[in-house]
Amino acid sequence: MTDILMPALSPTMEEGTLAKWLVKKGDTVAAGDVIAEIETDKATMEVEAVDEGVVEEILVEAGTEGVKVNAPIARLSGGSEAKAPEPKAAEKATPEPAPSKAEAKSEPAAKAEPAPAKVASAKSRAGERIFASPLARRIAEQKGLDLSNLTGSGPHGRIIERDVKDAKPGAKPAATAASASTERRGETRPVQSLQQMGIPEGSYDLIPLDGMRKTVARRMTDSFRDVPHFPLTIDLEIDRLLEARGRINKMLEKDGVKVSVNDIILKACAVALKRVPEANASYSPEGVALHHHADIAMAVAVEGGLITPIIRKCETKGLAQIAAETKDLAERARTRKLKPEEFQGGTFSVSNLGMFGIKSFGSIINEPQGAILSVGAGTKQPVVRGDQLAIATVMSVTMTCDHRVVDGATGARWLEAFKALIEEPLAMMV
């Protein structure tokens, strides 16, 4: 008998949603057959069987959220030890094996013998300790339960066996539905239900938290609370940029490529980061990491949230290539077909709300990046040249900096470099 375990789709994946089963009890599967779809924070992936055999039992129902990596999800007859199936990116054209594949294989297969608890989230991601008995932790891990979703009934709210025994993976806290809507991890204050805060039950519709919403909630809360951030705003004249873009697109017309203003901004960001490398930095307790490359993450709004696919080594790429990549990434982001390595990491982010007419705004830093640039709308405005009034297309950008790595003067120097590139795109050639 072989237990099929919840695969790790990426090195950092802790849990996922078992979105869909493509096999049912009694089905015969061969190695390589796609057996299930798994939804992580941001992507949907297919899971292949590693062994052949007959599906004896489906252990985790489709639609179950918060299934811990390595928790058994189904049982195959035949074989002798538990194996994590190989996760396979939905996109087959991936030239190199997904890192998750190697990860899943190198992880020791879970044996029937319970190894000493690997501690199911002894600490929440924000470092807030979850109080749970050792037995409760062990059972939670075995069942793929997220302790942070549970309410403890032991002394001082400690989570004890009773609280996890009958809980189901992905189950919401036993408390009111409203209090379930707040991710407990990262919270430093007690969760109040909406009712407690004066919003009567029945006066709203409740949308369950999917993986993306939970991730956005947790990461943004953590970042906004823990990262000492400040904004720097500057106005840029983009008439030359618009003109350059027109000429570039004319040149690329025959290739069917269209460069957007945003693509040029991405490129300008990357070049500016190479010119002011101190701004291409991440804070870590061990020291300030200065990144070798400008991996620019761009925020893409998708249904139900947002995602930030990354243009790797953006400083090395030409506008045509950047344009092609952003188009592909944005499309696949909207269909949730991105591979984890395509949206995890990045050294700097760009968020653009100009198309909505937003004049200026300050984004929340996407940890562990040192800064994020918020791009507003470009509008024709009166500007003063010498002592004369003139008309120019002006665009406001706001750089939110992590003060632990990017001080005010560093941010200002970066914006200065960025401004020079935007206002004279030819400078990117230099």
Partner: protein, 466 residues
């Protein structure tokens, strides 16, 4: 309203509940018809431990040579042994009196019965000093305890002379030369062990297939061997047909597997269980549900009759003082509106024979019957350094872990001072420790408690000294 809480019965359930009630700011009274501290303190747990200590020390005197020591002609003065036991009980009894005064708990000496009342039944007390007193409280807690079970129709009834219950067995004028103990539960075994230590010929009769039937079977078997080494005799699976008095003592007719046998001895002790003190309290008229002499309650001690609770022995097994205290505290905290602390606390059980027996949680058989797969660890004291140094190598520690979760399911110990060690496992169970925490805990060397560590290691094939 006279009181917030009136507690009927001042045993280890009642008086502890009274102290907790007072701590919580409740105006509290306690009614006792006999002696503060109840059976436990006056006629049970405590005075028997005093007797057993005398027996144990005396037994040791016969093994002095093992330790390179010598003493001439060890002997005992039985009256002084009993006197010491009574003194110990007396000391603790006055200690409870002190605690009641300290916590400003009104002690009413007398016999209580209950009458209909609101918000709780009225408590009518026939006072020892004369006169009747009727009190109304918001809550009444029954903690009337239990007494020895008897079967008069076949002569299993103490007569105060040749046939004893625990009570008479604690204060005889002289130690019997021969004794039949009927029932091999903790009470029977402790008296058997004590009188055997003083040199009596002791025969223990047990109806079930093994002695100490509530203990794990391996412990039962080891205990029987250990006791037999000390000269105790057993009749197992033996039904008592009749107990008759002869000129010199008693004759107990037993039947074992169809064979009858007449056992003779100077004295007999009836230790065939206990019955709850539910009579003459007016419980029937109030509509209190009683089953097999025990009041039926919910998890908090509520009887279903408004304002009336029951705790301890009268509320059912296990009949143990610490269980009564735990229930008393829990019940009072529930009354005061506090959330429950540990509703399903594992309750350790101890038998203070020589060797001692202690356990907590499920036996292996019970765990298996409950469908749990268990990993079993064992470690014998003969491989424990401290036990060897102390000349106490008898016995072992057995531990049971849930094979799936690693939860400590049960622990069973036999050997010297194991009753002092079992709380380590009780604590582990309350904290919901798994084998990982027990393995990771540092046990002091050299102690007999190292066997507790080794047993937990053994369950996972990691034992170090075996």
């Amino acid at each position: 309203m006279d009181f917030d809480v009136i507690i009927v019965g001042a045993g280890p359930g009642g008086y502890v509940a009274a102290i907790r009630a007072s701590q919580l700011g409740l105006k509290t009274a306690i009614v006792e018809r006999e002696a503060l501290g109840g059976v436990c303190l006056n006629w049970g747990c405590i005075p028997t431990k005093a007797l057993l200590k005398s027996g144990e020390v005396y037994e040791q005197l016969h093994h002095l040579a093992d330790y390179g020591l010598a003493a001439d002609k060890p002997r005992f003065d039985f009256a002084k042994v009993v006197e010491r036991s009574r003194k110990v009980a007396g000391q603790l009894n006055s200690g409870v009196g002190f605690l009641m005064r300290k916590h400003k708990i009104e002690v009413i000496e007398g016999t209580a019965r209950l009458e209909k009342g609101t918000p709780a039944p009225k408590v009518v007390i026939a006072q020892k000093r004369g006169g009747e007193r009727t009190l109304q409280a918001k809550h009444v807690i029954l903690a009337t305890g239990a007494r020895a079970r008897t079967l008069p129709q076949i002569g299993l009834e103490p007569d105060g002379d040749r046939v004893w219950s625990y009570r008479e067995a604690m204060v005889p004028k002289a130690a019997p030369k021969s004794l039949i103990v009927i029932g091999s539960g903790a009470i029977g075994i402790e008296f058997a062990s004590f009188y055997r230590a003083l040199g009596a010929e002791v025969m223990v009769v047990e109806a079930l297939s093994r002695i100490l039937p509530v203990e794990d079977e391996e412990v039962s078997t080891a205990a029987r061997k250990a006791f037999e080494r000390r000269g105790l005799k057993f009749r197992i699976g033996a039904t008592v047909k009749k107990l008759a008095k002869s000129k010199t003592g008693v004759v107990v007719e037993i039947e074992t597997g169809g064979k009858t046998e007449a056992l003779e001895a100077e004295r007999a002790i009836v230790a065939i269980g206990i019955v709850g003190n539910v009579e003459d309290l007016g419980l029937e008229a109030l509509g209190v549900k009683i089953e097999k002499t025990h009041v039926i309650t919910d998890a908090h001690g509520a009887t279903g009759v408004p304002g009336l609770y029951a705790i301890g022995d009268v509320a059912g097994p296990p009949w143990l003082a610490h269980k009564a205290s735990h229930e008393g505290v829990h019940c009072v905290e529930h009354i005061a509106g506090q959330p429950p602390k540990n509703l399903n606390a594992p309750i350790p059980g101890c038998t203070y024979a020589n060797p001692q027996i202690a356990s907590v949680g499920l036996t292996e058989a019970a765990a298996k019957a409950a469908g749990r797969k268990v990993k079993v660890g064992r470690f014998a004291f003969r491989a424990n350094g401290k036990a060897i140094a102390a000349g106490e190598t008898e016995g072992f520690v057995k531990t049971l872990f849930d094979a799936e979760t690693g939860a400590l399911v049960g622990a069973h110990m036999i050997g010297a001072e194991v009753t002092e060690m079992i709380q380590g496992y009780a604590l582990a169970m309350t904290l919901e420790a798994t084998e990982a925490e027990l393995h990771a805990t540092v046990f002091p060397h050299p102690t007999m408690s190292e066997a507790m560590h080794e047993s937990a290691l053994d369950a996972y094939g990691l034992v170090l000294h075996a």
